[in-house]
Symmetry: C2
Subunit: 497 residues, 2 copies
């Protein structure tokens, strides 16, 4: 075996450990009874520690040196594979195994505590554990930063979306912060309240509608499934992609859109290059690109009037609705799907206010990692921002304030900005796809999604990590990330209707 | 750390890998979409190989030597723990890692192929793969036999139930083979056909009834769940015990009894000594003892008239049945639950004919492992035995003949005898429990299961592997395994009513 072949064999094994981790994680969120949590956390920490041992094996570093030294004998996919391997290996080597284990165990405990504490609006019940998680994450960020010559927060951010730096993000976000509040006012003035649809909408019907939408878009049920969890997510592996949703009896659109969102993630996962299964180059690019796929499907496509026209008869059928009732008309369904209103909850936010939720978290988590802020300061800072930017006080309301998201409790600091980077990128992809295919809107309305999905498969999904996210965006859309596409999309959708 | 402490730490890690394997296995059977099968097989093979590496680590052997050498400083639980560790270590060292991987990959492929092939009654579609599995198993049996100084088949059997030998099993089975056919004739003559209950019985109602039965017996839903799979089984770990069933719309008793059977396994698992979680001594004894627990609950208790009296109102409630209808009376439900009839399918068999199904498999698998028989010979041999002993031809009917059980296709040779050893042991336990508690029958009828479950907890569940199965049986019941208890139970239930 050449050094490169030996690397492929080692990373194939790591890929299979990743399969075990993905499935244990999915089960933990979608299936596990609460009492199984403690031992699950320990088991996942052991699997993570074994993966860490394999990545920090001295022999692996030597093999990478050799493969990099004979780079010219490798084809571009193999070269990209070695780059992706090196990235994993460097990050793993920056952090001692004891910290990997401690963080897994502590975040598992914190996340499980949070589930109950949030339901009880009980901030003190979990803030101590959150502080432990924060301290471990700061230690991790410090160690990663030293190895990678990055600021601690950047070192975390880089783990979710390579080559992304807080400074550049802050610049993009400041554009949005300047644009959105005024835009939001204009939209609210411009929109009329849609007619309400009154439930209850049965879970079985909502599930069937979700599956119908997934099928229409080409989700492969021989290699995946749809279940229920506390928070919707996409997990599993390319050959077995697990998406989840939750059902609100009063609002079926919430779950339908959540399913479409996760289907965007799932199509990416199922569309990754089959020839590179279990190799790092065959994996998805970072979290921002992943989110650009979910938001491409949910925000760019599924909340368009064309898609709602396609979906309406399915909706009528699943809920036995009278298509002639104005509340069930395409116009009203579209109005419901594009309603803009400031709210407390990020995951329920429309695409206009959503970035404001992200900027709050981005600002706070930078301060938490740098030490400018402590866990104790979070509720007040949250309330202050929400009051100033969205006119909503979260004082005493932890549940719908700083306890609403699992991320920090699960040790995910540096993740939030990727949501909005994803939204911006999605708008830019969609503009490209539309330029390339003048019939796109008609196809969507007719339920012909194959050409659109094929465009994603060819330009994004099937390329894995062959290029960096930045290279891919420039190559496919002809330019670097430009907030103009997102703003133009918002103006078109929310002010010109 | 002392050598013993170091061993505990290493086996704790192995216990957590076992958690991952148990959950991936449960998911594979209960949740996984078919297309996920290939990669799941690979991932499970990798986890198995890592566990094998840890068990065959030279340092582990040294630690075991040291711990055994200073045995007198350990308490009885620790001593038993070292014995159980040594047993795992010896078995692992007998088999090369390449064989462990090959067997995992091949059995995963064979089992997944069998699922489809069985549905199509297509023996040729899977017989080639079964031959591969058999060859690997023979290789494994050979290697284990050499290390353990056992005959190859005994080496397999010993893996499922320690210290059990084919010769002793054959002796016990020949007693049954002499007793059962004549007994069966007498029972058939003695029984009258029960009134039929006609479905369809809804899945949701059957599921709710199953959960009600589990709850009544004390299954802990904070540490477990009930789902659906192709074949009912009990999986997971003590803190997160997963049982499965399947629903027959025409016969709710089938699923109710399957759930009670698995609840017997589950109570054992959930009742294992909490102080010894993740240590070998904290695990269940072998497959025969495990089956003695499921059959204790299903056959000894749940198919008794006392239990049916308790269950009848629950059954009426869940299926909205008229309690005054003679078909729904306790007498008729009891007659349905104890109906004896020769049939094709082992898992559907009554307790009188069941051992005859096992003896068939026991005889064939010994011949397959010794090489006296090949895979090609199986269908004819099956048909011949079934025709002779149960009066049923399986000629051309592979589905209900030699393809009905997953075991061989999943590489489990040497497992079948433990079912009937479990049935014999269950009768012996139940006789002891009844002697110790004269009110047992009344308590069961009143739905007071706590005393009975407590008896199992104290005498069996909570002792893990502190003693061998043989020692435990003798200590608790006062004698070695005696088929007399099983025969007496059958005579009492099926001829004296």
């Amino acid at each position: 075996m050449t050094p490169y072949e030996e690397l492929e064999s080692r990373f194939r094994e790591l890929g299979h450990l990743g399969h075990a981790q993905a499935m244990l994680g999915w089960d933990e969120a979608a299936m596990m009874p609460p009492g199984g949590g403690e031992v699950r956390g320990e088991a996942m920490a052991v699997v993570a520690a074994i993966a860490h041992q394999k990545l920090t094996d001295q022999a692996l570093a030597g093999l990478l040196d050799q493969a990099e030294g004979s780079n010219e004998r490798l084809n571009p996919w193999q070269q990209a594979n070695v780059r992706a391997m090196r990235r994993s290996q460097r990050r793993a080597n920056a952090v001692p195994e004891s910290l990997v284990r401690a963080k897994h165990l502590t975040t598992a405990r914190c996340e499980q505590t949070w589930r109950v504490a949030r339901a009880n609006n009980d901030w003190p019940a979990v803030s101590g554990l959150l502080e432990e998680v924060l301290n471990l994450t700061r230690e991790e960020a410090q160690a990663l930063g030293e190895t990678l010559s990055l600021e601690p927060y950047d070192a975390l951010l880089d783990g979710y979306e390579a080559d992304t730096r807080a400074e550049a993000v802050a610049e993009v976000f400041s554009e949005l912060k300047a644009f959105l509040p005024g835009f939001l006012e204009r939209v609210i003035e411009h929109q009329q309240a849609p007619l309400p649809l009154t439930g209850p909408f049965g879970e079985a019907q909502q599930h069937a509608l979700g599956e119908a939408m997934m099928r229409a878009l080409g989700f492969d049920f021989d290699h995946g499934r749809l279940d229920v969890s506390h928070h919707p997510f996409c997990g599993g592996v390319p050959d077995d992609t697990r998406i989840t949703t939750r059902y609100n009896a009063d609002d079926f659109l919430e779950s339908m859109m959540a399913v479409l969102h996760e289907t965007g993630h799932a199509l990416y996962q199922q569309g990754l290059p089959a020839d590179w299964r279990h190799q790092p180059v065959g994996r998805a690019l970072g979290a921002a690109v992943h989110e650009s796929q979910s938001l491409f499907v949910e925000m760019q496509m599924a909340r368009s009037r064309a898609f709602i026209s396609f979906a309406a008869p399915h909706i009528h059928e699943h809920f036995d609705a009278n298509a002639n009732d104005p509340a069930w008309s395409v116009d009203n369904l579209y109005a419901l799907a594009t309603r803009v209103r400031p709210g407390y909850i990020r995951v329920d936010a429309d695409e206009v206010t959503y970035p404001l939720h992200i900027i709050l978290r981005f600002e706070l988590e930078q301060a938490l990692i740098s030490g400018d802020m402590t866990v104790t300061d979070i509720p007040d800072a949250w309330n202050e921002y929400m009051t100033r930017h969205l006119g909503l006080s979260t004082s005493g309301n932890f549940k719908d304030g700083c306890m609403q998201d699992v991320h920090w409790f699960a040790g995910l600091f540096g993740y939030f900005p990727t949501y909005t980077l994803g939204a911006l990128t999605a708008a830019q992809w969609f503009a490209s796809a539309s330029r390339a295919n003048p019939r796109l809107e008609q196809q969507i309305e007719a339920g012909e999604f194959a050409p659109l999905v094929q465009w994603l498969r060819t330009h994004i999904h099937g390329r894995g990590q062959l290029e960096s996210a930045r290279e891919l965006l420039t190559e496919v859309t002809g330019e670097a990330l430009d907030t103009g596409y997102f703003k133009a999309h918002l103006e078109r959708r929310y002010l010109s209707g």
